[in-house]
């Protein structure tokens, strides 16, 4: 590989120490993000996608959380940095936007105050310059008449506007990495389309790397260049975005794609379902974690854990039988068409 990645996570393992024993929320996570690239992190609730993000930012309470592995940001291991250095990076070089903009904004400060606070923390500028910068950022995110908005409080503006404010705040220091944790989940589709557009535009303008965490495969198809699918704390498949949709290899990814109702095509067909529910992190299945819900699972799957194996062109999959499953499905397709 030429050069270094903007962010490279190597074998990250995040363990929560709880009263009921320790829980490994993220287990052996490896991924990388380059400049100007959007990596999608997909999975269902509890799969560890948010914990991965919070580990990268080191937002979790370190008295009850144990990190193992390496998180290299511009070649520097974030996990070994002292907290003071970390403060310089958070919000400055790596910024994060959250799902719920209402609870992430401080209700007793004006929008302007909150953006200015971020700028003043990280940059040596006067208050006046900071305000001008804040107005500029709000304009960039498409907020009409930002000079007036800057004096308003979070409750005075709509959900879509709040998310724009969050983006403005996150990008006010021109970070090189943006982590967006379900930024549009709480928004309506027409507003979601606006926000995704804003994120995409600004990514190009600032040449940022973006990690887009979402459970919505539609959003992934719209904005991501590469996708990592997570299940129970592990990446089970990673591929360029086109491959995920045209040639997914892992039965879980395939199942997810098939179980979404489509906007076109036959609607009288029954929806495909993945049987069962996601097991609890307290008792992770032996062997392949997806085996209990997988219709292709055999003895090997139930006893031995598969590794994340690279097939070709950056496509990685964690499955013992992905080749066999692919062939079997081809056969099914042939018999179905003939």
């Amino acid at each position: 590989m030429v050069g270094e990645h903007l962010l490279e996570v190597k074998n990250l393992k995040t363990t929560f120490l709880t009263e009921m024993g320790s829980v490994v929320a993220v287990d052996g996570m490896s991924l990388h993000v380059d400049y100007g690239e959007t990596l999608g992190l997909v999975g269902e609730s509890g799969c560890g996608k948010s914990v991965t993000a919070e580990s990268i930012m080191r937002l979790l309470d370190e008295r009850t959380t144990k990190y193992e592995g390496e998180i290299l940001f511009k070649g520097q291991d974030l996990l070994s940095l002292p907290e003071k250095k970390m403060v310089d990076i958070r919000g400055n070089e790596i910024a994060m936007i959250f799902q719920d903009a209402m609870t992430s904004l401080n209700p007793v400060y004006t929008i302007g105050n909150q953006i200015v606070e971020t700028i003043l923390t990280h940059q040596k500028v006067s208050k006046k310059e900071a305000y001008e910068k804040a107005i500029e950022m709000l304009r960039l995110t498409g907020i009409p008449s930002p000079e007036k908005r800057i004096l308003e409080y979070p409750h005075e503006i709509s959900g879509g506007m709040r998310q724009r404010v969050m983006i403005a705040m996150a990008l006010s220091c021109k970070p090189s990495l943006l982590i967006a944790d379900e930024p549009t989940t709480a928004l309506d589709v027409t507003i979601q389309a606006q926000i995704l557009d804003v994120i995409n535009e600004l990514k190009k303008e600032l040449n940022m790397g973006v990690i887009m965490i979402t459970h919505d495969l539609g959003v992934v198809a719209e904005v991501c260049t590469r996708v990592a699918v997570m299940y129970l704390g592990q990446v089970i498949e990673e591929a360029p975005v086109d491959n995920i949709f045209t040639n997914s290899l892992h039965p879980y990814t395939k199942g997810l794609l098939k179980s979404i109702p489509k906007i076109e095509g036959d609607r009288n067909k029954k929806l495909y379902t993945i049987e069962g529910i996601v097991p609890s992190l307290h008792n992770i299945p032996k062997g392949c974690r997806f085996a209990p819900r997988c219709s292709f699972a055999d003895e090997q799957c139930r006893t031995q854990s598969p590794v994340l194996k690279e097939t070709d062109g950056g496509h990685k999959v964690r499955c013992w039988h992905y080749e066999k499953i692919g062939q079997m499905e081809e056969k099914i397709d042939v018999t179905a068409t003939s």
Partner: protein, 332 residues
């Protein structure tokens, strides 16, 4: 296929089981001294019919009045104006005692399975309770029926004595559905029943709802903001914007030939989980206006890309294009 179509045709002929006519709901905004200052115009002149074994979907963004529509039909909030004719009787004029009887036949399933089940009751009791209230069967029969319904909705019978918190979101939604089924209803009002669920669980619950519809001959009013889910389950779809039903058509017709600019924008902004499909997206400017002060004329004119002078002054009336496709827009 032809048989299915014939069945659908036959269904269209049969009289509607529930007719909602000109439904209007205004919430008063009162000053601290109890004087009414203004109204939140949540639902305005909504009209639709629901036929036996049919599903009508109501879609729209938050605050468009789709949930309020569902709730007023059951009089969980009192309607301001209009009528809901169920089996020949107007629900809005019924006395509380009579209304209670009707509630047995029209049941509701809520979005949040975490807050809609009593946390202090065992799930078996939760399902039995509704039968008890409506005096259905004796104790033994009720338990047997609750057991059957649990099994039917995919919960193991030995979990009868467990509490709601011991179940996952999808399972809790199944319990909510079993509870609604317990009193032999003929209409389900489903308010975002799968929105809180993960994709893999969502498809399980949708399939279950479809099976139950056939088995128990239920009519569904399916309220959701997710157009792909609504498309999958509904026979007819009504699109709502700021309290108004702006377009109504059969599902296939609506998706193939959307007429209202809002419907078009809504359809174009759904992210499609496939990179091979690329579409022209219509991105609407701005936000939904406040329902306290809705725009004059057509409520959508502030965001409409095709706005003309007439839209700002005159309220559009429904026009029928082809076979029951209704649209409220000056451009048609």
């Amino acid at each position: 296929m032809s048989q299915q179509q014939a069945e659908k045709e036959a269904r269209k002929q049969s009289a509607p089981i529930l007719q909602v006519k000109n439904l209007k709901k205004y919430y008063p905004i009162t000053s601290p001294f109890g004087k009414t200052k203004d109204f939140v115009k949540a639902v305005e002149q909504v009209t639709f019919d629901l036929t036996e074994k049919e599903t009508i979907g109501l879609v729209g963004e938050s605050g468009c009045g789709k949930s309020t529509t569902g709730r007023t039909i059951l009089r969980l909030t009192e309607p301001t104006e209009g009528a809901a004719i169920y089996k020949g009787r107007d629900l809005f004029t019924l006395k509380p005692k009579e209304m209670k009887k009707v509630r047995k036949e029209i049941q509701m399933v809520f979005q949040d399975p975490h807050s809609s089940l009593n946390p202090k009751k065992r799930i078996g009791e939760i399902i039995e309770e509704s039968m008890k209230i409506h005096r259905i069967g004796n104790k033994a029969e009720r338990i047997e029926k609750a057991m059957y319904l649990l099994r039917r909705t995919g919960i193991r019978e030995d979990q009868y004595y467990k509490f709601p918190h011991e179940f996952s979101g999808g399972q809790r939604q199944r319990i909510g559905i079993a509870r609604a089924l317990a009193v032999n209803p003929s209409v389900f009002i489903l308010d975002e029943p799968v929105s809180a669920l993960d994709v893999s669980i969502q498809s399980q619950v949708i399939n279950l709802l479809e099976e139950l519809q056939d088995e128990f001959k239920l009519a569904y009013l399916f309220i959701s903001h997710d157009l792909s889910v609504v498309r999958h389950i509904s026979d007819q779809i009504g699109v709502m914007y700021l309290g108004h039903l702006v377009e109504k058509a059969s599902t296939d017709e609506l998706f193939e030939n959307p007429l209202h600019p809002y419907t078009k924008a809504l359809l174009s902004s759904i992210p499609i989980p496939d990179t091979r499909v690329r579409r022209e997206r219509i991105i609407l400017k701005g936000d939904v206006p406040s329902p306290i002060n809705p725009p004059s004329g057509c409520v959508f004119h502030t965001r409409c890309p095709f706005v003309i002078e007439k839209c700002k002054k005159e309220k559009p009336i429904y026009k029928e294009s082809t076979n029951g496709h209704l649209v409220a827009c000056h451009l048609y």
